[in-house]
Symmetry: C2
Amino acid sequence: MKSIAVQVGSVTVGGSAPISIQTMWKRPLLKVDESLIAEVNRLQALGCDILRFAVPDMETADLLGELASRVSIPLVADIHFDYRLALRCLDYPIAKIRINPGNIGARWKVEEVVGKAKDRGVPIRIGVNHGSLPKKFQDLSDPAEALLAAAEEEIEILESLSFRTIIVSMKSSDTESTVEANRRFAKEYSYPLHIGITEAGPLIPGIVRSTLALSELLKEGIGSTIRISLSDSPETEILTAKELLTALGLRKGGIRIISCPRCGRSGFDVQGFLKVVGEKLQQDQRNLTIAVMGCVVNGPGESRHADLGITGSGDKVVIFKKGKIVQTVRPEEAVEAFLKEFRSL
Amino acid sequence: MKSIAVQVGSVTVGGSAPISIQTMWKRPLLKVDESLIAEVNRLQALGCDILRFAVPDMETADLLGELASRVSIPLVADIHFDYRLALRCLDYPIAKIRINPGNIGARWKVEEVVGKAKDRGVPIRIGVNHGSLPKKFQDLSDPAEALLAAAEEEIEILESLSFRTIIVSMKSSDTESTVEANRRFAKEYSYPLHIGITEAGPLIPGIVRSTLALSELLKEGIGSTIRISLSDSPETEILTAKELLTALGLRKGGIRIISCPRCGRSGFDVQGFLKVVGEKLQQDQRNLTIAVMGCVVNGPGESRHADLGITGSGDKVVIFKKGKIVQTVRPEEAVEAFLKEFRSL
């Protein structure tokens, strides 16, 4: 079943919109200055569509509000327990609130928050996490069922107030129950799903486990927006999400990098070169394949199939364009020569 | 069809053996000393089962031979074109030769290499790469068919000399044709498959693309040994392979880390903590779940389900064991307190 479309600031989530990429700010928000704005804009340039901030207190709510008026990326306020924080955020151009109405307390508090969100046209994401389930769901033997039941209870509260611009997430650090809960939800509900594996772990296990679980859901057409949770930087979360969507054919454009792992034959520092040119390639939206190779065994072959290729060969570096050698330069000239050819593609 | 078992030094590849993990040495081999031996042993301790070296010249062949007599991990010599390098490596306790007989040249050279490998009981891996296919296969419209045809031609050469301790790999930087070639091969042949995506790229795209492609094959029971090719360190290749096999239920034991991505609520430097304790956890073979969490929203919940958990809480750090708080310490005492509890599990 196709989900309904929910507007998150300038980004549509669900319906026939492309799958959007989210990450979360990882530090306390202490002041809004040019350097913060530059960092946020950089995440957007890397491919982040929606950016979320934890709002643990009123100062943060005000700062987030200020930031929201100074950047174009939709910002989300992540709130636990305190309805006043949600009300304060709704004074500002916040694009979405993540709050579980079941955690707010008395009914009149829920009504105030939901009423104000409706007035302002701000959607609410219900975010159910297996690590913080309400007590009564914690000991259900089927963890997928526990996630789903907790989400359903939250949805009922919002629906009872005729609030329907809802996005839902059900996350666990266990991939199987996350996949299963989302699968069951998608069969029954038309609210867009925000999918992710929570607390997926450090960089490597986190990417592997998120890729395995989210690819299962995405291949079944489940998931309108994704967040890769890694104990690593927001940049790595965005790049992982981009790569996953691209590899599954769900995202168009962007540079595909073919690069060799290096071995004892390698005459060219592939990893060092990629460190220097990486961000330029990651920010580019053209649909191109770039081969960065260390030696002449597979280098020329891979470069032949790429739009632009660079390969070490003895003490020289050879640049290929659409399969033809266009430059042979010294290693210290490689970055500049490569970027010149890259721009001209 | 179950593959035959081929012995690679002390490691069995194929048959009913567990799927083994390989990586490749990334620097030229210039001398064999204690520091090199320590590095190789460290890769083995991390989970590497088989280690491959490029052998571009006679000096490297001799050094690899010396190394092979001083470490217990099976070493593989990767040779292109020059039959004399293969003969020299076979003078030493090398566990496997990777060479394509079709690249050696005259028939008598092939006979010498294959004869000596048979005498020494050393298996040969045929490694077909889409970036270095023989000319006649390069322009086949179906790249999976091209990989398969090139592998078949190599197999025929070895079989014509009654050599059957063969391992085969067919790799491309394109995930689809790699998956398809290996699938077709597994239907027709019983030689064990070494699977991997070649030139998969830098860390993040490389892990995502390798996970997507190899998980498809592994779920179908295809692949006896895996190598993740990343433009990154051998350690990252090993950890990715371990995580992939563990997540698919194909590898037993080892620490599972649940760790939070941090946000503005986080009071504990999860990433910094993991950097310090990471390698200890990665080398441990016990089957345990460890939760490393930043705050009290999901921290206690996740820690409750883990064998050992650590969570920031205000300016303190709380350690949970099997769901019960066992220590509350200052952040600067966290590593020592955690490792003490970890050892005693």
